[in-house]
């Protein structure tokens, strides 16, 4: 699977990006508004100042006179440590102040305050100017009052506010990133829970998912459930198919066997009888192989996802012995069971299958008129069933190899078998965390097969 990154990280980054953008925007807005507010304040003070000075303009003996009220300058001191410049001109003549102070054009007409921004002696200044018409003698003279102030104070105030805004923006950003991470995690939690619910399941648990999920996940859950439905159906179909196939193969085999038995009763020639016996044996062999192959498949399938239940090996052994007693009786073999309770945890169907295969082997390879001994024991942390027969033993070669598929002992000639019995038993035990021990019986005679399981 190729990863396309994490949804959670992407969501967090997206939300953080939005937060960063908002932070920068709000910082810029606050900075701009702060500067505007500071400038407006300065303008208002400058306007009040020029107005105060202009109020003092009067005509005295044909001369324009004025006073510079203290308040006109003190109010300007309210804005930082800025320097103040002023000039009052009547026509082209400077009445007082800095003659070289730039005066904005009197576009506003008489009585209206005009503002301008300029440079004076190397410093940025804000200028307010008002023109009044004063009657000097008989002729009206336009008198312009101009007050200017450097802008350091405004800059400082704006910078202070901007810094504060920046701190707030950064704080907002940090909080927003944290919240986005939490939001991303919270909104992805149902997905995680769904994943956990699916991965907790065993391979054969194909029940549909039934859990509350947000509407965005509903299509995914629906799709998953449909997939599991289809899987379940095809699994059941293949099981049915195997069962049907077994039926189709075994029913005619049964007929062949039956006919051969009937024929065997009516023929008298020994050679013919021998041929019919071989035919029956071949039929038995193939039907037995088919059965054990299916069993083997079932064991492999169930062992993947072992259903566990408490099982008493003593009960299990008693049931299996009862089931195989008629088979043993046909050979006059006595099944002798000594059992103490031995609790294990496992799949009773598979455990029964394992013991049945081992016991079936013991009966098959035992001579007539003998005893097959089953002993159920509980030793330390292990529960055991030992099956001992009085047969010919395991023969030459390593005993371990007998649990390999289709491997049969060196001394099994003439006995129907598929070579899967011990393989099945061993696979069952291994799936349960146990093992199959093969050895000789008492005094080195016969075979002792021990099923070993961990006690529960």
């Amino acid at each position: 699977m190729t990863g396309t990154g994490s949804i959670g990280r992407r969501l967090t980054l997206l939300l953080a990006g939005v937060a960063a953008l908002l932070s920068v925007l709000s910082w810029g807005m606050v900075t701009m508004l702060a500067r505007q507010a500071a400038e407006r304040t300065q303008d208002n003070v400058l306007a009040a100042s020029v107005t105060a000075i202009a109020e003092t303009l009067r005509s005295e003996q044909g001369e324009v006179r004025l006073e510079l009220p203290y308040s006109a300058f003190s109010m300007l001191g309210a804005i930082g440590e800025d320097r103040v410049f002023y000039t009052v001109t009547a026509g082209d003549r400077t009445l007082t102040g800095y003659a070289d102070l730039p005066v904005p054009d009197g576009r506003g007409g008489p009585g209206r305050i005009v503002f301008a921004t300029g440079t004076y002696r190397g410093e940025a200044i804000r200028i307010a100017s008002v023109t009044r018409v004063v009657l000097a003698g008989t002729s009206p003279v336009p008198v312009t009052v101009t007050v200017a102030q450097t802008r350091d104070g405004v800059g400082t105030i704006a910078a202070d506010l901007s810094q504060l805004a920046a701190i707030l923006a950064v704080a907002f950003f940090v909080v927003a990133v944290g919240l986005s991470a939490i939001a991303a995690r919270t909104s992805l939690r149902p997905l995680k829970e769904l994943t956990a619910a699916v991965s907790r399941r065993g391979p054969s648990d194909l029940r549909p998912l039934r859990r509350a999920a947000p509407s965005e996940l509903a299509p995914l859950m629906g799709a998953l459930n449909r997939l599991m439905d289809r899987l379940n159906l095809s699994l059941r179909r293949s099981e049915d198919f195997i069962a049907e196939a077994a039926h189709r193969v075994r029913t005619p085999l049964a007929t062949v066997r039956t006919q051969a038995e009937i024929a065997l009763r009516s023929v008298t020639d020994d050679a013919d009888k021998q041929r019919l016996r071989q035919m029956i044996r071949a039929v038995d062999e193939s039907s037995r192989s088919a059965g054990q192959l299916l069993d083997h498949a079932t064991v492999a399938f169930r062992a993947d996802d072992l259903p566990r239940a408490p099982v008493d090996l003593a009960d299990l052994a008693a049931r299996t012995v009862a089931a195989l007693e008629p088979t043993a009786a046909m050979k006059e073999i006595r099944l002798q069971l000594d059992a103490v309770p031995a609790q294990v945890s496992g799949d009773p169907v598979l455990l029964d299958s394992a013991l049945r295969n081992v016991l079936d082997n013991a009966i098959k390879y035992s001579p007539e008129d003998t005893v097959v001994h089953l002993q159920v024991m509980s030793i330390a942390h292990e529960a055991r069933i030992a099956v001992t027969d009085q047969g010919p033993g395991l023969g030459e070669g390593p005993a371990r190899a007998l649990t390999e598929r289709f491997r049969r002992g060196s001394n099994t000639e003439g006995i129907v078998g598929s070579g899967l019995g011990l393989t099945i038993a061993e696979e069952v035990l291994r799936a349960h965390g146990g093992r199959l021990d093969l050895g000789a019986g008492e005094r080195g005679k016969g075979t002792c097969v021990t099923l070993v399981l961990p006690s529960s």
Binding site: I242, A243, A246, H247, R248, V249, R250, T251, L253, A254, T255, V256, R257, T258, Q259, A260, E261, I262, L264, R265, T268, L276, R277, I280, R281, V283, D284, S287, A290, G291, Q292, L294, D295, T298, V299, A323, E325, P326, T327, A329, M330, K331, E332, V349, L350, D352, S353, G414, V416
Partner: protein
Amino acid sequence: MRYLLVEDNRELAEAVIGRLALDGHAVDHAGTLAEAEDCLAVATYDLILLDVMLPDGDGRDFLARSRASLETPVIVLTARAQVSDRVGALDQGADDYITKPFDFSELEARCRAVLRRRGGSARNQIALGAALFDPLAGTLSHGATSVDLRNREIRLLEVFARHPGQILSKGQLMDRLFSYDSDVTENAIEVYVGRLRRRIDGMGVRIETLRGLGYRMETDTA
């Protein structure tokens, strides 16, 4: 004993019926579940042999349906060999199962085991002269003495008991005593007849050897 065989394969059914008839059992045959229900409505059986896959349904479903009202023991004949199928059959109330193809000796052995478990031996006793033979329990009693017979001795005595006064060849006896996959010679029959003779000694029953023909059981009529 009266058996009901529910099996759709005609050849197999005929062979089973023929074989069971040899042991003196009466067998009714039903090819479908519907026929089986008709049979059960009018007759009482000692044992039902039930195939799993039938043209009109699954034998196990039939078993699950009728188990509550059915006292008769059931042995399921199945071509399905999977462990889960076998366990399933027993869960649904079958007394035993046997997988096809089966050995007739094994079918007989399983029938006998199920009948014995269900305690159906009382009505099945056979009088052999003054002795009483119970083939299910495997006992032969005469007055106060009673002997327990072993499996092959029981079957051998049962064959003789079902065919009183008839001559039975070694070949016939072998068919009943041994499954076909075992390599036994006719000498084995002599061994078992010898053993049985010792067991029934003094019970008022004798097995005579007819040289070249076989054996015949005689009872003391006195």
